[in-house]
């Protein structure tokens, strides 16, 4: 069996292009599996996976849980809306308690940047990062790139623009890494207050004008405007944001070409994207969700099979 170059999936940053292609090929197979009448395979039988979520999540946690169950793993879930430190227990203690119950893999979401990396240094089991603060969300980036590949045949050479709150988005950062590794050109578009000051150093293009960005790209990946992750006000109002950065059908129809619309969800309908765009034939938003399960199955399967050395 081919193997990944990493023991954990902490971020796209650590992966090679070969790793990503291997994940895609594995996901192709699993996508067939989950579209069969019998959707389950025995690949991870006797493997126990804990989904440890220190931040609210519905779709990512469901997607992971489904992927794990389709692979016949035993699954336990731990959710806590706040960091456990506030309850007087450290992250390390919480996770060690779970591991003491003989768990093989941890899928973790946490609001602190680098927390899965911290964990990987201190515990023995395999770790999948399901989102660490404003850093990375590797499985989202993988499913996004996989969905582009599915829709357009290849990622290499395509022009992808990420719209919205780039500053606070782990999806944006992981997407930039993944798309660049696969040979796509990447642009970011949003109000300047939502773009990191040094984003250009990552080799991405910057565009402040929505229309110009749409004219440039083949794929528009529209991020959720996350007011909850903002401790400081970065723009005056959602009203103004949607007026100048919301993507609507009139705007799309006025372009001379068709572009693919993506969104990692959950959508704020009428804010960053209107309903007629989200539900249009240009949109592959629900394909992303379906592909998410196949991608997560591939990641878990490949990591479980990887040697511990």
């Amino acid at each position: 069996m081919q193997q990944l170059s990493v023991k954990h999936l902490l971020g796209i940053k650590d992966l090679t292009a070969e790793d990503i292609h291997l994940i895609f090929e594995t996901a192709d197979n699993f996508k067939q599996v989950i579209n069969r009448p019998i959707k389950k395979v025995p690949s991870l039988r006797d493997i126990t996976i804990a989904n440890v979520f220190f931040e609210n999540s519905t779709r990512t946690r469901l997607s992971f849980e489904l992927a794990e169950k389709r692979l016949s793993a035993d699954v336990i879930n731990f959710s806590s809306s706040s960091s456990s430190v506030k309850k007087g227990e450290t992250l390390l203690d919480t996770v060690n308690n779970i591991l003491a119950m003989k768990v093989d893999m941890i899928v973790m979401r946490h609001s602190s940047v680098g927390s899965p990396h911290f964990l990987a240094k201190h515990v023995k089991c395999k770790i999948v990062n399901a989102g660490d603060g404003t850093h990375e969300h590797p499985t989202q980036a993988l499913l996004d790139a996989f969905s582009i590949r599915e829709k357009l045949g290849d990622v290499a050479g395509k022009k992808v623009c990420i719209f919205g709150d780039i500053l606070h988005s782990r999806v944006a950062l992981s997407n930039i890494f993944a798309l660049q590794k696969l040979g796509a050109q990447v642009m970011v578009c949003g109000p300047k207050t939502l773009l990191p000051t040094y984003i250009q150093e990552l080799g991405v293009k910057i565009e402040l004008n929505l229309r110009k960005a749409l004219e440039w790209c083949d794929v528009a990946n529209v991020l959720r405007i996350q007011l909850e992750r903002q401790t400081i006000k970065y723009f005056p109002s959602l009203r103004e944001y949607s007026l100048y950065y919301g993507i609507n059908k009139t705007l799309l129809d006025s372009l001379k070409k068709e572009i693919v619309i993506m969104h990692p969800g959950p959508i704020n309908r009428g804010v960053e994207i209107t309903s007629d765009v989200a539900d249009s034939k240009h949109s592959i938003i629900l394909n992303q969700v379906e592909n998410g399960v196949a991608i997560r199955m591939a990641v878990l399967y490949l990591l479980a099979g990887a040697s511990n050395n």
Partner: protein
């Protein structure tokens, strides 16, 4: 008891023996004889490449005592200082309680007696170092406060800074500010740059430091008085200070040893032993810092010794406290990463300039003087390990690193420490 230091090159520009290699006899804490002859002594210190300089002075130390004695106390800070060749320190007021009353000053001073370390407390400018109401600075000065600062916090309130600079002119006092515009650095975890973008961590822009320096210098120009900027971490700040010095303003500044050698790329693995404030900057910035040392824009090198226990450091990156140990590795770190600065200049910034700024007598290596001396060897290489650490806390980024330069002995207060 007498101790003979054999063939040590004396580095002390104020001494007649400057740059001469001599035997130094110390008897009952006093320099008895400096000569070429071999005296009989109870103990002899000898070795290759020995140098003797006035005892080193570290202008910025968090002693954590009183208040956080589980991280460090005055005893362990004295041991760490001795092992690092430091005989005198100025300590920050951010203790619990804050250094804003005479009793805390006398507690600190008395507790350090009978060690090789003299501690000069820096008192708070404002009550609880909150930046709102002035402390009784005249009274604190007479009780032994060596300077005034809100320590790890900037003096954020412009009018408070203005009043403080005016108020302490009656005793030629010194304000030490740690320049940081907190509205710009709020929630920041590391240097703002490519690395912070790659890591998704909120950056602390250099602008946050430069803005406050620009403001402070304007106020200083208006009020007169003296200000010292602590922990410079931006070449832009140095340009401002360079200009201000040319203009004749009474301004000085220091830099931490770790800012002279560590850069923000080291944060890649989220090691909280690289989490300091101000944050580690870029490699290019480091080159500028060395230039500013050479042209004396930077007057002093400090350790910014800040002990943090495992419970404050072995955490998710954003939850971990800022700060690293520094007293014990102060000289070896500077010496190891030295970018072509003469040894004498480094020693000057550890001995003469901090004492000049704080108006403290500069120890002299001459016969009849009280021995306040550091004996060191700038050539020997060694690996710093966790078991070498004298502090209660172990938060050093230099564990396991090969360092060049060792401290051989220190003498002060009729006490000595020999490695």
């Amino acid at each position: 008891m007498n101790i003979l230091i054999k063939s040590a090159e004396i580095i002390d520009p104020n001494s007649d023996f400057h740059k001469k290699t001599k035997n130094i006899l110390i008897e009952n804490g006093v320099i008895k004889k400096i000569s070429d002859s071999n005296h009989k002594a109870d103990r002899t210190i000898e070795g290759k490449n020995l140098k003797a300089s006035p005892g080193w002075f570290d202008m910025r130390v968090s002693i954590k005592d009183p208040g956080s004695e589980h991280k460090e106390d005055i005893n362990t800070v004295a041991q760490a200082a001795a092992a690092g060749g430091v005989t005198e320190i100025a300590c920050l007021p951010n203790t619990k309680p804050v250094i804003q009353s005479k009793d805390v000053i006398s507690y600190i001073k008395s507790k350090a007696q009978s060690t090789t370390l003299n501690i000069y407390p820096i008192a708070a400018v404002t009550l609880e170092a909150k930046g709102e109401e002035l402390t009784e600075m005249i009274d604190l000065h007479h009780a032994g406060a060596i300077a005034f600062s809100d320590g790890s916090k900037p003096i954020w309130h412009s009018d408070i800074l203005l009043k403080a600079l005016q108020y302490i002119q009656m005793f030629d006092g010194l304000i030490i500010d740690r320049p940081e515009e907190r509205q710009l650095s709020n929630f920041g975890q590391m240097n703002e740059g490519k690395m912070s973008t790659l890591l998704g961590l909120k950056g602390i822009p250099k602008l946050a430091e430069e803005l406050i320096i620009e403001r402070d210098l304007k106020i200083l120009e208006y009020t007169g008085g003296r200000i010292h900027f602590s922990l410079i971490s931006s070449p832009g700040s140095l340009d401002l200070i360079r200009e201000a010095k040319k203009k004749g303003l009474n301004v000085t500044c220091d830099i931490a040893a770790h800012h002279l050698c560590l850069d923000d790329s080291l944060l890649e693995n989220f090691d909280t032993n690289y989490k300091v404030n101000p944050p580690l900057r870029s490699k290019e910035d480091i080159n500028q810092f060395w230039k500013a040392l050479a042209d004396n824009t930077i007057d002093v090198i400090v350790s910014d010794h800040n002990p943090q226990d495992e419970e404050s450091k072995n955490l998710e990156f954003d939850l971990a406290d800022f700060g690293i140990l520094g007293l014990q590795t102060l000289f070896p770190v500077i010496n190891t990463y030295n970018k072509k600065i003469k040894l004498e200049k480094i020693i000057e910034k550890l001995t003469v300039t901090p004492r000049e700024i704080l108006n403290i007598p500069i120890p002299k290596i001459e016969e009849g003087a009280k021995a306040n001396i550091t004996i060191f060897d700038p050539e020997t290489e060694w690996v710093f390990s966790e078991k070498d650490i004298k502090s209660k806390s172990k938060n050093s980024p230099f564990i396991g690193k090969k360092l060049k330069g060792t401290v051989v002995a220190v003498f002060n207060n009729n006490q000595h420490f020999i490695h």
